[in-house]
Chain length 396, copies 4
Amino acid sequence: MSFQNPVFIPGPTNIPESLRKACDMPTIDHRSPLFGQILHPARDGVRTVLKSSSAEVFIFPATGTGGWETALTNCLSAGDKILAARNGMFSHRWIDMCQRHGLDVQVVETAWGQGLPADRYEEILTADKGHEIKAVLATHNETATGVKSDIAAVRRALDAAGHPALLFVDGVSSIGSMDFRFDEWGVDVAVTGSQKGFMLPAGLAIVGFSAKAMEATKTGTLPRTFYDVHDMAKGYAANAYPYTPAVGLMNGLNEACTMLLNEGLENVFARHTRIAEGVRKAVVAWGLELCAVSPEVYSDTVSAIRTPEGFNATDIVTHAANTYGVAFGVGLGEVAGKVFRIGHLGSLTDVMTLSGIATAEMCMADLGLEITLGSGVAAAQEYYRANPAAALKAAA
Amino acid sequence: MSFQNPVFIPGPTNIPESLRKACDMPTIDHRSPLFGQILHPARDGVRTVLKSSSAEVFIFPATGTGGWETALTNCLSAGDKILAARNGMFSHRWIDMCQRHGLDVQVVETAWGQGLPADRYEEILTADKGHEIKAVLATHNETATGVKSDIAAVRRALDAAGHPALLFVDGVSSIGSMDFRFDEWGVDVAVTGSQKGFMLPAGLAIVGFSAKAMEATKTGTLPRTFYDVHDMAKGYAANAYPYTPAVGLMNGLNEACTMLLNEGLENVFARHTRIAEGVRKAVVAWGLELCAVSPEVYSDTVSAIRTPEGFNATDIVTHAANTYGVAFGVGLGEVAGKVFRIGHLGSLTDVMTLSGIATAEMCMADLGLEITLGSGVAAAQEYYRANPAAALKAAA
Amino acid sequence: MSFQNPVFIPGPTNIPESLRKACDMPTIDHRSPLFGQILHPARDGVRTVLKSSSAEVFIFPATGTGGWETALTNCLSAGDKILAARNGMFSHRWIDMCQRHGLDVQVVETAWGQGLPADRYEEILTADKGHEIKAVLATHNETATGVKSDIAAVRRALDAAGHPALLFVDGVSSIGSMDFRFDEWGVDVAVTGSQKGFMLPAGLAIVGFSAKAMEATKTGTLPRTFYDVHDMAKGYAANAYPYTPAVGLMNGLNEACTMLLNEGLENVFARHTRIAEGVRKAVVAWGLELCAVSPEVYSDTVSAIRTPEGFNATDIVTHAANTYGVAFGVGLGEVAGKVFRIGHLGSLTDVMTLSGIATAEMCMADLGLEITLGSGVAAAQEYYRANPAAALKAAA
Amino acid sequence: MSFQNPVFIPGPTNIPESLRKACDMPTIDHRSPLFGQILHPARDGVRTVLKSSSAEVFIFPATGTGGWETALTNCLSAGDKILAARNGMFSHRWIDMCQRHGLDVQVVETAWGQGLPADRYEEILTADKGHEIKAVLATHNETATGVKSDIAAVRRALDAAGHPALLFVDGVSSIGSMDFRFDEWGVDVAVTGSQKGFMLPAGLAIVGFSAKAMEATKTGTLPRTFYDVHDMAKGYAANAYPYTPAVGLMNGLNEACTMLLNEGLENVFARHTRIAEGVRKAVVAWGLELCAVSPEVYSDTVSAIRTPEGFNATDIVTHAANTYGVAFGVGLGEVAGKVFRIGHLGSLTDVMTLSGIATAEMCMADLGLEITLGSGVAAAQEYYRANPAAALKAAA
């Protein structure tokens, strides 16, 4: 596996130079004021990236999975009822976590490739007259299927039903790459990690809590210590932390927010759409289809590409790694062997993306699929040429 | 705060060059075999550092606090009885965590400055004829007081009582710096982090489980997902991880183990003793006393130094940071304001240590304490000269 | 200019991770034995890369231009007669340097695109009965035209003429990438730099001197101090340097030699040929021609590609930089505006190369050249698939 | 040799974090406009550090020795008469270089430890009615003896004699650390390197030329190519370079200038004086003497310390390296074995300096000198406490 080639996994992403350097920090005293100069701007930056004016941002030395656990254990109690749809591996895992923590999940089974069924949510919430459902889970971007869901529609479902349940959103593979509106969508807990839109190494769980979610923490009785947001908040108020923070990564997060906000969030999102669209043009040129069933659910951070019946899509990933030193993503769960995934998030250029497309073509040809070499590349080139990057940013 | 001066906090430590570089890694595919080439040697290295032949080693993207939670939530069930002594801030916090997770802790209050009372443990365990106590907690090195406890004695207490309770040991500020014998002491769960003896940035919880502890995980019913060792073990068996690993830090851990084992564990421990002894000579020269009550409990990784009555020891730490750009540790909890701490673990040389001692002298003089400038330095110089370093290692 | 895209200039190359880290070194005492542990293995490594058993290797904190000056000023005296062919910008510059230093150069004008005319050399040398010609200059690889010359043939010319002139070879853009045989070819001074085949930042002039060249330094009277090889040799003998060495770069050079020799020089050369051949297949697919007139002079480190009459080839380079953030090389001197250059040396993978080819296609199309998008990519893909990399090496 | 200890050689210095990161740069195209964004600010920054409004600044991938050669070969012709004093190893070497390049040096032998004899210069220049002397050499800070000379006095000597000779100043170990006034002192060529006051790795020769020196380049006929300032100037005018620049180091230089100018040059100088004075207090406490004969010539960047008759001062340096992993400087030339040197330039804190002083004490005691351990440390502590640092700057 050559470090020279870009990676095309759906996170961790390729890390920009400047972020690698921001993370690679000598030890400072995390109980000194210097730490506050990293902590507070990082939290402010995340809040702005979330498009929130008031979310409480907490940063744990953990991963997105820990962020899920933070949402659940702080706001809920054993036996609480939860509503969630399962439309991919990551929504599946969050549901599984709920069950392990003694929560009672009403699962809406949804085809892998489809978005969250806001209409079904509305029916169920409307039917829940007693408001027993305490929280609704929504995976904004299903990394396993390359499917984006409409969180605004979920909010509308809650509102239409007049239901007070909390809205927990997994934005791990969307926040910082695709439009996310914490305040406008009425999100109560947003969860992400450092290794996706923030383009950092894995190691931070990043969560935003609404005032309503903070209120819920007062009654939630699930056991928690490491992920206790009260301990965290008390620490923050004193420029500190309840235990040892991952200072370098937080310094990187601060820098990542600065990069994203300097570029402008809408520009960041447009950049992701542009890169993704090139990949999608290539998929069409190859005569293949995305796992995502329709354009409105196409993810701008990852494309899961279906291969023909009888072909093991995972072979592409293995072959790309072994023969070309390139990392793609395998299919997971229900779509294992049926799709391979091209991650296209973070600091990826059109030029880098073309090398990923070219590699996929070589792999498919090597493995006997009917592919015209250069066809996907040409389609993407055409698109990129016709839609030039707004501005070349030194992504470093 | 100058990055040029060493830090003298009791972790995170000064990070050797080679470890900074090992951690600063480009993104690799953590689902590729390359990850296994980091994961398995890192786990093997940790096991050897623990002096164990068979401990199951788990590495979480978290901190030592998460390691505590891993021990509790995997092996225990709500209402389980726990035996623990409180002799400092870190033992206090672990007890607090037990209580938050619904465990029933029998706390043996112990003076801050003393080691764990193995004899009281033995009495209590002997009295527990029904074996209701499921686990005994032991903080090997109380970072708050600079006190090392005798874990072998705790094991003897368990054995003398013929008690089957699990032995959980917090080795956060001892493992990799001071002698730790997982197998010989019959430790069931050992907990540490990346940022102490392993000299890395914070961000990894590192735990070792005995076969008996692994057996206990089958019955432990406390809710857990992020810290579930079964998920982790299943992942490891497939060269993988249940979520996204902190690959760079794990690469650093692998390298850190190689460094420690190449030096030889006994040499590493002797090096820490030598450095610590210089600091202790300085304390004597200053006419001050350690918080640790007697030589057999002196920690080789951190010294908590009592200042005279009426003097706020925390002022030394603040003054050192503001005036000399040097980080010492403040007193915590019961000894807040009464002690300041000099961390002397990890890759610290005699020369660096002398600069810390000299700084402490300047601070004390600046703040009006009766201190002969150069006195502590001279005492440490005398000791270091008389006890030369076994060998100069390029700690990088 | 994005740091994320590879560069396709004919040096400095993309720098492998491990070499960046080897160069990024804290200060050591360059008068201590530790320096010798870098210096001597670096010199030995270079000697092996030169395929020499006895060349004296000198490493200056300078560039290849300084290496040229080292060859001239150490071995020659004002007024000495020199034989050289001009077939590109770099041979031109070396000739110019000779003239500035008072040497009398007999220039064999050679078409840019052709190799060195060994037959003309032989005629001239044979005619020089008085052996007034003191040195023959030979540019192994003309970076400006992408032309490789046959140094063995130049040696045969010298031998056929029974001429004792020294043979100075500019191997700046060949050594470490293309076959170079110091001993077998009877090279007297070989010149290179750190930023080409050694894949390092610019900053080192690296030269090898034969015993005959060392002998010539005793009579050469051109003024020199910085580049004096006797001062350097005296320094080396004492593990030292006549002034302050560029220690980090030399550490990188040592590591680079280890990388190259671990891979095996023949494998390194084959790897360069493979990468270059993919580029050449693309050029054919585009319907374009190389500046190099025939296959036997095709360079494996850089291709200079002729664009159609009336088209300014430099526009491709400007457009690539401005629109796609990719660096190609412009045409220089006689071929300015007529060619653009794709550098393909150092740690470049097939995957990276495809992105450069794809970018060139987009630029040519954007600028109105008749190019079928994807055509060059497909031709290169076909070649790379049919000729798989011998082994994937972690180029880091 | 541990990378953890600071170095106390008189350059290369300890490198601040931010400068290491600035130098560790991926490859950019040095023929692209991006290079201009590094080159021009770096040159402007150097000019400001020189306290000049109009000096032409040239930056070569070389060292200070190359800077000397640049001064000589661009402005002078073989046989030109030069006036220079020899009061240490570095003035000696510059004189030697003149002689190798065919210049006719009138050497004023001066005791090692004394400053340049401006009065003798005046006598000689006054006597030179025919103005045959073309240049006067002046070593601002003799790194070998720790002696600072009065360049303003040398200028006054020239003026008093009404002599038009060029004034070449070696500021290698002064510029960026001690007050240097290019314009006010009428300096014609100032020479320095990257590895002293600019705190970078070695690898850049940095020179400033006055208009008068630039004029002289038109008539100077010494052969030169690599160091030709006209080629360099022509390159700069096109955002370019006559050969491959050391881009990373130049990026570091740009950042170093920003650091120095943000701190304020007078603050930088005061900081060096403060650090140096602590070392000098220690020397007095030890009962030793500096090589520098009187306070007005004490260097603020390096102290050369005389050891008692019959003692080999070099043993201290060897012992410090072998036993404590600390680098001091040996005596050179006439004072070899008679002095050892403590470098105290660049980003060195009082705390770091105390560790150097403490180490020197241990070494002297180990080697049998009559030294009271802690005595020098105490004297320096006293001084540093009484003269606090103006402000703590994060030197990174």
